[in-house]
Amino acid sequence: MSSGATHEAIEAVWRIESARLVGALMRLVRDVGLAEDLAQESFIAALECWPTTGIPVNPGAWLMTTAKNRAFDHLRHQKMQQRKHAEIGNDASDLSPAPSDLELAADDDVGDDLLRLIFIACHPVLPKDGRAALTLRLLGGLTTEEIARAFLVPEPTIAQRIVRAKRTLAEARVPFEMPCGPDLPTRLSSVLEVIYLVFNEGYAATKGDHWTRPELCQEALRLGRILTELVADEAEVHGLLALMELHASRLPARIGASGEPILLLDQDRSRWDRMLLHRGLAALMRAEALKQPLGPYTLQASIAACHARAGVPEETDWGRIVALYDALVELTGSPIVELNRAVAVSMAFGPAAGLELVDALIDEPALKSYHLLPSVRGDFLMKLGRHVEAGLEFERAASLAQNSRERDLLLARVGESRTRQTTRHVADVRE
């Protein structure tokens, strides 16, 4: 056995250490771009050194020392420059503190560093895609290439998003600190939004040839789990985790043998992941136990829990689901939620009741090019025996769907509606 470390092992250390490394460096240099560069440099140093020396007993400390030395070099250099300028301009007021002072501040609580890092990566000053990319980079230790692959966008696009995000943070002089007071709810909801965005892109890929991309779900789950540890007293943090765990529990049943999507009520529930399902229900209980007003994530998790608790689709408590959607519509006013509510209503009270609600949404601008509106409408029409109209709706839905697997599913329903039309026709003739 060789004493040297493999590339995979070094990457694994990086995965474990990178976030806290960047966090600690942020306290020294107060600049995300610089902190990440320094962390990267220490990683490269490890890649050069460890294949021969082996991984040190305490690899985290090794990386931290290497990175900090570089940080001090940088600060010393910066200070010298400033002194030069000061001598010329006779102004010494803008000197950075000496490294020795900073060093004293360098061993605070790791949890605080992580949380501040999450908050800064998800800062509302950044565009949404920039937040997601930066979060995966800083908290997940993912490479630009990995993020690009996950989001199905070219690598330079992601690289640019990250560079821009770092620049924006520097220009806006966003402090590396915990948000407090009236800021906290907005900042926290931005964090939850980013995590959920990452999860959803993995759970129902908007683009590409695969219906799901589980690695993105895993990253989001990991972030969600970390967050419930760091912000344990916020119900929505547990609510979001519950929602993600419950949805992820269905992942194994969501894809058929040839990669086609399988909808919730058609899924083989024996393939639902029991561990994730029970973790989800437990997280939901923690959210509810905090006795805060139910937020959108907790409400959605409660809906997911209704499905999780039903051993077979017929046992689903649709009445309760409709009530939860009522609350969710009230809270969010989102037309997409209203569409989901219509589906629940149709299950509880029949397709005609659902159709009435969907028809009221037809002119909704936000749903204009949303493929699930005609898809849902087609489904109700189909159940009502209006096969010709249903076929038209499925065709429209298929033309709007961006995921090829989903498009196939909708085209199959177009075919199904045509078959029913013919059968019906034959039956009519016989009568």
């Binding site: 990457e11 789950l221 051993g311």
Partner: protein
């Protein structure tokens, strides 16, 4: 990927001797690190094999033996289930665990749904589904 990490038992765990306070506090710290990193999914400790039973299968015969079981090398005293990106990540985590004394801890990747799935016949699936439904019903009542 998910892995299961098996912690073997020894004379002390078999005798029901609790670990030292120092070890417990180190282990608590290690566990907390795993939780804070979003890696830990589950962790359980197992009672000594004196509380265990074994069932031996031979043809139609079932022979039940009471614990304790002597071959302590094969005895599991506890397990973790971790969510990691690679088995290397699991190895790097495990290296941080406060074990000592030549103890050998095994990491085993858990099957992912895509590992089988297709092999299961529709009839078997339907049976499995019915069984789960029954389990859920019992759990609720």
């Amino acid at each position: 990927m998910r892995v299961m990490v098996f912690v073997p038992g020894d004379k002390n765990s078999e005798a029901g001797v609790m670990p030292s306070e120092e070890l417990i506090s180190k282990m608590t710290k290690f566990n907390q690190d795993l939780v804070t990193a979003g890696v830990m999914l589950d962790a359980q400790g197992l009672r000594p094999t004196s509380k265990a039973k074994r069932v031996r299968f031979s043809g139609s015969q079932r022979t039940v033996t009471d614990g304790p079981f002597a071959e302590s090398k094969e005895i599991v005293a506890g397990y973790w289930i971790w969510q990691v990106k690679s088995i290397e990540e699991a190895v790097e985590w495990l290296k941080r665990a406060p074990f000592d004394g030549g103890i050998e801890v095994t990491i085993r990747p858990i099957f992912e749904p895509e590992d089988f799935g297709k092999q299961l016949s529709p009839e078997l699936r339907a049976k499995g589904q019915k069984m789960r439904a029954e389990i859920e019903r019992q759990r609720k009542s």
